[in-house]
């Protein structure tokens, strides 16, 4: 059963094409990695899926019971305003009644547990946390409403390798234990290959089944032992040799 099905999606800003002829299906419980160079349209594709942006044409079908959640690339930049961890995670409960305090607190505590944070962190100012802790809090915010589809837009510029590895493990565990579908977006090809069961390469078009490392190096050769599924046959262009 597929949770989301994208058919012939195109996105244009004026005369500039951002995404072209995207066809993609993601099934329940999948852990999909999405890679592509800067400006490949990764964030735009996520925004279309989340309904933050409307595609110029094409169709996105989303399963009825689907509950999306989202870990954005940037949250509270340098001009950040004081906000406690509790308040950040509570944003994930904007749909719930504020009068159901004890249930909400239970949900918050179980989300904290999933990301290995202690309850004492709830009172702290989000701005004073380390990069890794911030990332965990934002993941907890995404998990607090028990989503079945998590979109993770990676921004690990100020997170060290150990923390990154732990966060990757955390995502893998959420995928395994809660059967949460994950769409993971990253620049870091190596991790995507290690962690994701399926990798999609995006550069305006989708190139699924090509070798991700070669793709990121700009060499779009066909790799013999991986079945190639070409989403777009582009004449006079090396895309067809994904």
């Amino acid at each position: 059963m597929s949770e989301i099905k994208i058919e012939n999606l195109n996105l244009k800003f004026g005369s500039k094409t951002i995404l072209e002829d995207i066809n993609l299906e993601i099934g329940v419980g999948e852990y999909v990695g999405l890679i592509g160079p800067n400006g490949a349209g990764k964030s735009s594709l996520l925004k279309c899926i989340l309904g933050l942006m409307s595609p110029s044409s094409g169709k996105i079908t989303i399963h009825d019971n689907m509950k999306f959640s989202y870990v954005p690339q940037y949250f509270l930049g340098e001009t950040g305003f004081s906000i406690s961890v509790l308040e950040v995670i509570s944003m994930g409960l904007a749909n719930k009644s504020i009068f159901n305090k004890s249930q909400n607190l239970n949900d918050i505590n179980s989300a904290l547990k999933k990301v290995d944070l202690k309850q004492s962190v709830l009172k702290e100012n989000f701005l004073n946390l380390s990069g890794g802790q911030k990332q965990r809090v934002v993941i907890a915010r995404a998990l607090v409403n028990n989503p079945n589809f998590l979109i993770f837009d990676e921004a690990f510029s100020n997170v060290d390798m150990t923390t990154k590895t732990k966060i990757y493990e955390l995502l893998a565990r959420i995928n395994r234990e809660d059967n949460t579908t994950i769409l993971f977006v990253s620049h870091e090809v190596d991790t995507i290959i290690q962690k994701c069961k399926r990798v999609i390469c995006l550069n305006k078009h989708l190139h699924e089944g090509c070798h991700p490392i070669k793709f990121m190096e700009g060499k779009l050769q066909k790799i013999d032992n991986i079945p190639v599924r070409i989403n777009k046959i582009h004449h006079h262009h090396n895309h067809e040799k994904c």
């Binding site: 989340l50 989202y70 906000i83 406690s84 509790l86 915010r141």
Partner: protein, 268 residues
């Protein structure tokens, strides 16, 4: 010592000033956190055009400033949603246009009893009984609306994309915030004046930000700072015969400096 309480106009201005400053601080946190701080300046200057038109037409200002303020607020909302308009630059355009219209109308009008100056600098000590009722009821209703939608408004100002991904009807909250801010700024003209209303929305929030650890904490601190400044400002202006708005803003700025010192030498 408390002889100023024998004057009805002082008591009235203390009551209105307190209610006004509490709400201004509350609303100000949403504006600053959502990077909408200069919107209040734009709205206040454009409402002055409403005052100008009122003076030109004769027969009082009435609800014209509210109408103009809402018009400016909604044009900002719709234009910035529909195009890649730079909000900050557009704010400056509306602000200048508002002031230009105000001066134009006043200049064109035959002699009038209402002076534009009252609305530029405010006149909290001359507030009438009916104005007290109007301002108080608006503030109480607006407080109710914002508190009822508190959680969603926090999401909206800190991370609108996340809120949209969770909850489709985000526009409604954007409009609520815009409408409440527009009306509030317009009714503040008489109290603190179009040139100074932003100070009430922003300075105490800026001070609270130096030492607060959460959004709620920042709200409570800024409410405290605003209340303290308004009450002490009114009393100071009574005893030393200085303009009330100036006195209040001097105290607000003093508090800001103290919070900077506190942050630098005590908290760290």
């Amino acid at each position: 010592m408390l002889d100023f309480l024998n004057y009805t106009f002082i008591v009235r201005s203390l009551l209105v000033g307190s209610l006004f400053s509490v709400f201004a601080a509350f609303l100000g946190n949403f504006l600053v956190a959502g990077k909408r701080a200069n919107m209040s300046d734009m709205l206040s200057h454009f409402s002055l055009a409403g005052v100008g038109l009122g003076i030109f037409l004769g027969g009082g200002v009435g609800f014209l400033p509210i109408g103009f303020s809402l018009l400016a607020g909604f044009s900002l909302y719709f234009l910035s949603n529909k195009s890649n308009l730079n909000k900050e630059a557009f704010n400056v355009l509306i602000l200048s246009l508002g002031l230009a219209l105000a001066i134009f109308f006043v200049n064109m009008s035959p002699s009038s009893n209402v002076s534009l100056e009252t609305y530029l600098f405010g006149s909290i000590l001359t507030i009438s009984k009916s104005e007290v009722w109007m301002i108080s009821s608006f503030i109480l209703i607006a407080f109710g609306i914002l508190l009822f939608n508190y959680q969603k408004l926090v999401g909206l100002v800190f991370d609108p994309d996340f809120l949209k991904s969770q909850f489709k009807k985000v526009k409604k909250y954007e409009l609520i915030l815009m409408a409440v801010t527009s009306i509030f700024v317009a009714i503040s003209l008489k109290i603190v004046g179009g040139l100074l209303v932003s100070a009430f929305l922003i300075i105490s929030v800026l001070s609270a930000q130096q030492i607060s650890s959460s959004f709620k904490h920042s709200i409570l601190l800024s409410i405290g700072f605003n209340l303290l400044s308004t009450i002490s400002g009114i009393i100071l202006s009574f005893y030393y015969n200085i303009p009330t708005s100036s006195a209040i803003i001097f105290v607000l700025s003093g508090i800001f400096i103290l919070t900077l010192i506190y942050k630098r030498y005590v908290q760290n």
